[in-house]
């Protein structure tokens, strides 16, 4: 048996013994997803136990170094863990912006002290993070952000407003883009971390077309932040922001896969109408082909062969696919899928999910922004 084969065997055995049966059930609603954080109420003992045993092994972040609370797994081992979890239908023990966005940015740009302080907390799910990027006047033109951050000698003073802050009302801390200089647009931005309980921070949820409020407006009124909570250099925050956006886009693009690369939409929906069946088959071809690109891109990324604009290509293709997927789910569901509040529709899950996907090609940079990035950085078209 090769080392990887024995790793697989051990992993399978360990998961069998440690993944509670309830955590092998499909995720039915938002409440089934464990986000962690100071104010997190575990939905069940099983959810708590699953997070604890996985965090103890570093498997909430399997490929981070062990020193920072990770599992220290190689890419091949991490893939095996993912496959073995998928095999038994195990839920992710922890979902967080700390894992998918801030963590990778800290690993690349954080000081040793910052890494040792923040990363293990993220790995254990102790801090829930919000992302403070967009502002009312800075959406697609993100670098036009105006939130002011002044150097007051022994602290920073932050004033301004963010919008589309995901789960800001539930988050413990925020990673935030602020303006530390007005002399240069891109060269006057810094990347700041601070506690949402700091005096002067307030949030207001935004009601979306789905009837849910996953996003907030966030206001900063004379918020004092300690000096050592800047990631990367002052005025060089745009580099950190772009790097993190790459990870965010990769995460969002993965949603095009829906239930994972192995299951086709047609197999789940079993369409009997021939025209719908044909549309779904066309979708499944595109979705499976896209999953092959995701797989290839991940391998290229690990090998350092990926073009830096590849996440934009993935984000564009993946989000457009996910919107198409939900259009087809709605078509297959017919009038049943339109119910908004009944128990039999799980409080309108199909319709609300469908509406939620419309944001996929807006958040994290619109489809048009992604196409512009591909045109400029990959195709090198003039004036892009």
């Amino acid at each position: 048996m090769t080392e990887l084969e024995s790793f697989r065997a051990e992993t399978r055995c360990w998961l069998e013994a440690n993944c509670p049966p309830e955590m092998r059930e499909p995720v039915r609603s938002e409440a089934d997803i464990c986000w962690g954080g100071r104010n997190w109420t575990f939905q069940s003992d099983a959810q708590r136990r699953w997070l604890e045993v996985m965090a103890e092994r570093g498997w909430t972040v399997p490929d981070w170094p062990k020193d920072y609370g990770g599992g220290g797994l190689s890419a091949a081992e991490a893939r095996i863990l993912k496959q073995e979890m998928a095999r038994i239908g195990a839920r992710p023990p922890l979902t967080s912006f700390g894992i998918s966005m801030l963590g990778p940015a800290l690993l690349k740009y954080g000081t040793e002290e910052q890494k040792r302080h923040y990363l293990p907390q993220i790995a254990r799910g102790e801090i829930r993070w919000a992302q403070g990027y967009s502002e009312p006047g800075a959406g697609s033109d993100l670098a036009g952000l105006q939130t002011r951050c002044e150097d007051k000698g022994d602290h920073w003073l932050v004033n301004g407003q963010k919008v589309w802050t995901s789960y800001a009302d539930k988050a413990d801390w925020i990673f935030c883009l602020v303006r530390t200089s007005t002399e240069s647009k891109h060269g006057g931005i810094s990347f700041l971390l601070f506690d949402m309980e700091t005096p002067g921070v307030s949030t207001r949820p935004i009601l979306l077309i789905s009837g849910n409020s996953p996003f907030c407006e966030t206001f900063f009124d004379d918020v004092k932040v300690p000096k050592d909570q800047v990631v990367g250099q002052v005025n060089k925050g745009w580099d950190v922001a772009k790097y993190l956006l790459g990870h965010e886009r990769e995460m969002i693009s993965g949603m095009g896969l829906g239930g994972g690369a192995s299951a086709t939409l047609g197999a789940a929906l079993k369409p009997d109408d021939p025209f719908l069946r044909a549309d779904i088959a066309a979708f499944d071809v595109d979705a499976l082909a896209f999953s092959a690109m995701s797989e290839r891109f991940a391998a290229m990324f690990k090998a350092g062969e990926a073009h830096p604009a590849m996440p934009s290509m993935m984000k564009y293709a993946g989000t457009e696919l996910n919107k198409r997927r939900h259009e087809l789910i709605m078509a297959a569901g017919g009038s049943d899928a339109l119910e908004w509040d009944s128990d039999r529709s799980k409080q309108g899950k199909a319709a609300r999910d469908w509406l939620r996907t419309k944001a996929n090609s807006i958040e994290g940079g619109t489809s048009e922004i992604q196409l512009g990035i591909v045109a400029k950085h990959i195709l090198r078209l003039p004036g892009a």
Binding site: A267, A278, A281, R296, Y316, G372, L379, L381, P382, A384
Partner: protein, 376 residues
């Protein structure tokens, strides 16, 4: 999915430089088309493939080949697609070789394929579209052998082939995969008539009529009534190969178009500065990357014996057709008037795309196959 190994990258570079220098439209496609060549490709040039060892990619080392697989074949085919190089590589060295590998026919044909002296063709389609399971052509037992009667269409390189692999029915009925037998029919067989047409891209495809063509039982490839197995191997390799070639066609058409956007001026600007064209070009680039990944995934699945290889092959073919069709259509449109002229190469890409799309099953055939293989 694994990335290319150093050996694979070396093979890719060898094929790329050979085909770029010798296989481009001016030296090959246009030359043979405009001189009225009956084969549609250069026979000496086909021998060069042999000299370079490319014909042995899918032939086992025990037979003097390289013992490689669909992945390496795909690397060569992508370069063939880029250069629109006319050659019987796909039908002979990829699909044909996979059909007879492990059978008694390997000893007879592998040496001549390796040297570039033999050409193989596949005779599967009977209607206007590719439907291998609908094979109806009859092979009836006669003494120790069989009598073949019926018609085949779209036999690419049928007029140049030294041996044609013919799917005929010895049992079962049209629509069933059981009961099909694969025969190796040699050039000039008595009762076989060949009606050849030049197709849109300048290559040759034949209609075959079998009128009491008598063959020995030696002509059977694999087992009687069990021809679906070697046929599936050939079609799997052929489809994955055609997908890779289509990716090459798409990539070259797109590169040519993006270059044009950086040269052509209208309204006092390079037309590549217009966002309406930038976004279309960027969308196309993504679609080609997706098709390339799907083609690689399919080839690797065939090589590793993945149980989902058939699914990935159909995903790859369907996606490659779609991406290449988009590439050539956008290519002609963005070139404007010059794109409609025979003088410009972009139109040649459109024609090759059309032929490769039809070969071994079009986009709709493979979508339907993805649905069937997924259980819906």
């Amino acid at each position: 999915m694994t990335l290319l190994t150093d050996d694979q990258k070396m093979l890719q570079e060898t094929a790329a430089s050979f085909l770029r220098d010798e296989g481009g439209p001016a030296k090959q496609l246009r030359y043979w088309r405009d001189t009225g060549c009956t084969d549609g490709y250069g026979t000496d040039f086909w021998k060069r493939f042999g000299e370079l060892g490319l014909n042995g990619i899918c032939i086992p080392e025990s037979h003097g080949g390289l013992g490689l697989g669909a992945t390496e074949a795909a690397l060569v085919l992508e370069e063939i697609g880029r250069n629109l190089t006319p050659s019987p590589f796909l039908t002979t060295a990829v699909a044909g070789v996979r059909a007879i590998d492990g059978t008694a026919h390997a000893d007879r044909w592998f040496p001549q394929i390796l040297s570039g002296d033999a050409v193989l063709a596949l005779a599967v389609d009977e209607g206007k579209s590719h439907r291998p399971e609908a094979t109806a052509m009859a092979a009836t037992r006669q003494g120790n052998g069989f009598l073949l009667n019926g018609d085949k269409r779209f036999v690419v390189h049928g007029n140049s082939a030294d041996m044609i692999l013919v799917a005929a029915r010895t049992g079962g009925s049209a629509g069933e995969s059981d009961g099909i037998t694969l025969f190796a029919i040699e050039k000039g067989a008595s009762g076989l008539s060949v009606d050849t047409a030049t197709v849109a891209d300048g290559s040759k495809a034949s209609r075959l009529r079998f009128d009491n063509v008598a063959v020995d039982s030696d002509a059977v490839v694999g087992d009687v009534d069990g021809g679906w197995a070697p046929l599936s191997r050939a079609l799997g390799a052929g489809r994955a190969g055609a997908a890779a070639e289509l990716v090459g066609v798409a990539a070259a058409a797109s590169d040519m178009t993006v270059d044009y956007l950086k040269q052509r001026k209208q309204f006092g600007k390079l037309i590549g500065e217009f966002q309406a064209l930038q976004h279309r070009a960027a969308h196309l680039d993504g679609e080609i990357e997706i098709a390339r990944a799907a083609a690689l995934k399919a080839a690797q699945a065939l090589d590793s014996g993945d149980e989902r290889a058939e699914l990935w092959v159909s995903v790859a073919k369907a996606k490659a057709v779609a991406s290449a069709a988009l590439a050539v259509q956008e290519g002609v449109q963005m070139h404007g008037g010059i794109g409609m002229t025979d003088e410009h190469d972009i139109g040649l890409y459109m024609k090759r795309e059309a032929v490769l799309s039809e070969l071994f099953g079009d986009e709709r055939y493979h979508r339907a196959r993805v649905a069937a293989l997924s259980g819906y």
